[in-house]
């Protein structure tokens, strides 16, 4: 049988076209949701309870997880820095290397990834369940704006809390690095922290915080967006949760690269 070229090509183009249209409409919907939530900000700030509750749920309660993950990452990076530099550079440089890596990259990315796993999923599952069980519709019928009541507090809480979580994560990671250097590499405290100071720049902290702001927005927005448009029962909630966390992870890595290439 002879394979006919044209229909195949046309099919490929069609598939591309479809994906492109789906992608553009999705991006359009995200942008609309974003501005919808932005419009609710004044009212949200007038009654800050909703926002404060979510800042606690999303932010404060993520701190143990962030501390745990950062402690180990810092420890491992110090251990590996010590191992890689053995014989080439003095162990006093471990502090410099760990500090730089944590502030620029590991602190924000790692914190964002673990928070995405915890927060995007919980937001998507919660809003998704409310959507498929008509609880969001019920709010609408009571003239309570669900974008103001549900979506905006979660989004802005993620946005505001991530920079704090990243500061916590970065600090703990450096401490983890310090503990390992001190115990296994025999680096004294002044040596380690002088190393950290040596390469420290406030511009790095700016990059650290810019990443945190973007990652916070990404984590919360993907949870809210996929939760909000859930359809079709328990299976739909499962899909929404997966979509939220996968999108958040992918976008965190992409934006990490973009911010690095713009700011470095």
């Amino acid at each position: 049988m002879k394979i006919r070229q044209e229909p195949f090509l046309i099919r490929v183009i069609e598939r591309f076209g479809e994906s492109f249209i789906t992608l553009s409409t999705t991006i359009g919907e995200v942008v609309i949701l974003f501005f919808d939530m932005l419009g609710r900000l004044p009212k949200l700030l007038r009654h800050p309870n909703l926002l404060l509750t979510q800042m606690e749920v999303i932010g404060l309660r993520s701190i143990p997880l962030v501390i745990f993950a950062s402690m180990f990452t810092g420890a491992v990076s110090a251990m590996q820095a010590g191992y890689q530099m053995e014989g080439y550079a003095p162990p006093s440089l471990v502090g410099a290397v760990v500090g730089k890596a944590v502030i620029l990259e590991l602190g924000p990315v790692l914190t964002a990834l673990v928070v995405a796993g915890r927060v995007s999923t919980s937001i998507a599952a919660e809003l998704g369940t409310m959507k498929v069980t008509e609880q969001i519709d019920a709010l609408e019928t009571m003239a309570i704006d669900p974008v103001w009541y549900l979506a905006a507090p979660r989004f802005f809480a993620g946005f505001l809390m991530m920079p704090i979580l990243v500061i916590v994560g970065s600090t703990v990671a450096i401490l983890g690095g310090y503990l390992v250097s001190n115990i296994t590499l025999d680096v004294s405290s002044p040596t380690f922290f002088n190393g950290v100071k040596m390469l420290f720049s406030s511009y790095d902290v700016l990059i650290n915080q810019v990443k945190a702001v973007f990652f916070g927005g990404i984590v919360a927005l993907s949870g809210v967006f996929f939760g909000y448009r859930t359809t079709g029962g328990a299976e739909g909630v499962g899909k929404a949760t997966i979509n939220a966390v996968v999108t958040a992870l992918v976008l965190i890595l992409v934006f990490d690269y973009v911010i690095a290439s713009v700011m470095l």
Partner: protein, 264 residues
């Protein structure tokens, strides 16, 4: 009972709802094809029809949770689809809806559910709201269950809690989706009485979707029979019960054989 302090003039009290040529497809299937229905500003309209014929979909169009593919819903001469968000919410203040699934917010207690609309839309003090919540729950036979979570209630109790929430703000238009489904016969009779009493006392409109022909004859002033996407028959309960149309007669009598062929 409580006095309501409406600022609206008496002649504006009550909503006239007119549905014109409403068509809606869902999941690629036409559900409503050409619904024309006038809901008078006083009295109770029963909407009956087979399961899956689009009764809930029709109700959701009246309060703007779904939007028509074509046709329109007019409320006091204003087209629902042309209202901006503020006007839509103002209109919804005059509505109360009971969902088929009750749609209680499951993170809140029963009392908080009933109070929700009043907290956000009325300038009432906390004790006033608590009194009103208690009054509404007592009315539907759930006295003292304010602090229960929806997950701790039976299906019928959830329905009644949803009913209490729907009527808590003395709405001018009450939309009840199967208020007595899942209730025992005695409780059904009690709920029928509650609905009848509300409609008379507040001299308002109720649209009641129901399968219960006994409730139809006790509470409804008018009945609309939704079949194949149109209002197939409309009249007083007596007229509908006495209808000579074979389709209507088969539905009323609940026979398996007749012009309606149930797909098994």
């Amino acid at each position: 009972m409580r006095k309501r302090n409406r600022s609206i003039l008496p002649e504006e009290n009550g909503c006239e709802i007119v549905i014109e040529h409403l068509a809606k497809s869902l999941g690629g299937q036409p559900v409503l094809r050409d619904v024309n229905l006038t809901i008078p500003p006083r009295g109770t309209l029963g909407v009956v029809g087979r399961s899956g014929c689009g009764k809930s979909v029709l109700l959701k169009h009246i309060i703007g949770l779904m939007w028509p593919d074509s046709g329109r819903v007019m409320i006091n001469g204003r087209e629902l689809g042309k209202m901006d968000r503020d006007e839509l919410y103002q209109t919804r203040h005059r509505f109360g809806m009971l969902f088929q699934s009750a749609a209680l917010l499951d993170s809140m207690t029963v009392g908080e559910n009933v109070a929700l609309g009043m907290i956000h839309n009325r300038s009432m003090s906390r004790p006033e709201i608590a009194d009103r919540v208690s009054e509404c729950l007592t009315m539907v036979g759930l006295h003292g269950l304010e602090d229960k979570l929806p997950s701790e209630l039976s299906g019928g109790m959830k329905k009644r809690a949803g009913l209490a929430r729907a009527v808590a703000m003395d709405p001018e238009v009450m939309l009840f989706d199967e208020p007595t489904t899942g209730l025992d016969p005695i409780m059904s009779a009690v709920i029928d009485e509650v609905i009848k009493d509300l409609v008379e006392r507040l001299s308002t409109t109720a649209v009641v979707v129901t399968h219960d022909m006994r409730s139809v004859s006790t509470i409804c002033h008018q009945v609309a029979f939704l079949h194949r996407g149109i209002i197939f028959a409309q009249g007083t309960p007596e007229e509908i019960m006495a209808s000579e149309d074979e389709v209507v007669a088969q539905f009323i009598a609940g026979r398996a054989d007749g012009p309606i062929k149930p797909r098994l």
